[in-house]
Amino acid sequence: MEMSQREHRIYNPAMECISRDELHKIQGERLVATVKREYENVPMYRARMDAAGIKPEDIHGVEDLKYLPFMEKTDLRDYYPFDLFASPKSEIVRIQGSSGTTGKPIVSGYTRNDIEIWSEMMARTLTAAGATKDDVVQVTYGLGLFTGGFGAYQGADRIGAMVIPMSSGNTNRQIMMMKDLGTTLLCCTPSYATYLGETIREMGIDPNKDLKLKAGCFGAEPWTEEMRKRIEELLGIDACDIYGLTEISGPGVAFECLEKHGMHINEDHVIAEIINPATGEQLPYGKPGELVFTTITKTGMPMLRYRTHDICTLTDEKCGCGRTLARMGRITGRTDDMLVIRGVNVFPSQIESVLVRADGVAPHYMLIVDRINSSDTLEVQVEMTEDMFGDTISHIENVRKYIIDQIKSVVGIASKVTLVAPKSIPRSEGKAKRVIDNRNLH
């Protein structure tokens, strides 16, 4: 791999490069204060703690997090609109929201403090993508209830960059402003970035000559490495992934630096855990599972152990940028995708990660789960590519065996790998169907 000697900008080095020990100490103190606030001000959570036999005094630090009850998205619906607020309504200066699962939106209340924290997190995010006060930041997220627009605006404003709050739509006008005002940093969804890039190319504009774009922070929807490559080529920029959710604050909960190797979590404001979605037990770094967030500085509507239902892994390995903040990998699925095979939790994304890492193997696969003689079986269908193909049986058998071994070591179960013809596994836009479960478990 080519070593990149990139210049890494860091907005708040004191926090972003803090020692892990120091960080855990601060997290512990902030967690204790947050639990106390929540217990005293939110009857629903107090009842939940009481039911679990936990008192605020039982929580001494991060290591006690695991004793706290979870919160769920349904709580935001059931206690809509104000019953999760931990500050008086008069202290709330902003409402943001997003679509819920039923007709009503979910809303979150922010105190002045919460807006400041969120702005700081987004300032770090944009700085990590290279932004300074000399930059021109074009925000194509709508400035509305949805957190994308305000989040990006506040972060860029905090840095002192020149913000163009375009909101969404009118692509021709977006491109005209981008050209005329010399936009250097773009904030939008990855799919809109692709569309912008394609339109720019169709118009005969060469981004490397005619535009000043250098980077983009893209989020609010899942995307892939292939999409990153495409956006970077189309727009001639660095494309960074960002993660956030209204329940926790908004975009900027986690952000990629220019190493583009996982998103740094703003751990002085949120604690991230990975749990086994079936049992709720904490899992160590490196293991895939459900991402759970606890806010430790928010005062308007703190969230304790909020289950995102997103599947990813965490790592606290030091990053090339110098930050010590732990990183989360790409969201590779939802807990609804989880399969239990012979008692082992299996995420299709784990299989995908094995295939992506194996040389020459296409990331297209199909999992076929069955129950034969009351024992679960897992068949992994993988497409034969030219890189994998050799003219001897032993060569192909070795490739097959390698994949089986890797799946065994990553997922922990034996599988049968079947090599199938190229392009025989159905492709679909968006969420591909990756699993056929023939077990009739329902």
Binding site: M384, E386, F389, D391, T392, S394, I396, A421, P422
Partner: protein
């Protein structure tokens, strides 16, 4: 003196081999040699066509969704008499080489009495030297094209 071979991955599915040969046949590709290696799960088809037809056949296969590659193999003449093949195999064995696979041409060449075996050996370069040293009659790509 190596000759070109195309190998194709086939799923173990009813009609798969017929479909492939139909595709090649309808495009006028003449098969000079063919072998089928199969396991429970998949098969590898190895074919030899004339050198001018090799690239077009490869493209045709790939365009139609097949995984296919060109490799280089040796074609050696084996005298058409008892022990003819055995003598060739002894040479290979004595040189500490092993046969990864072997099959034969579908037709004999003009003016030749022997069978023509296509061989993939553990070390092709070394095998070539051994064969030339022992004056084994080898088929060149031109010989193949003349078939």
């Amino acid at each position: 003196m190596f000759i070109k071979q195309i190998s194709v991955f086939l799923e173990n599915k009813r009609g798969a081999l017929r479909e492939m040969t139909e595709l090649l046949g309808k495009s006028g590709v003449d098969l000079l040699a063919l072998s089928v290696a199969d396991t429970q799960n998949f098969g590898i088809i190895r074919i030899i066509v004339s050198s001018v037809a090799t690239e077009p056949a490869l493209k045709l296969l790939r365009d139609n969704g097949y995984t296919a590659k060109v490799n280089h193999v040796i074609c050696a003449e084996v005298p058409d008499r008892p022990l003819g093949l055995c003598e060739l195999l002894s040479l290979i064995e004595q040189a500490n080489l092993s046969v990864e696979y072997m099959y034969s041409f579908l037709r004999a060449s003009r003016g030749s009495e022997g069978a023509h075996m296509i061989l993939r050996l553990s070390d092709g370069e070394k095998a070539m030297q051994v064969f030339q040293m022992h004056e084994v009659n080898l088929f060149s790509q031109e010989d193949v094209d003349a078939l």
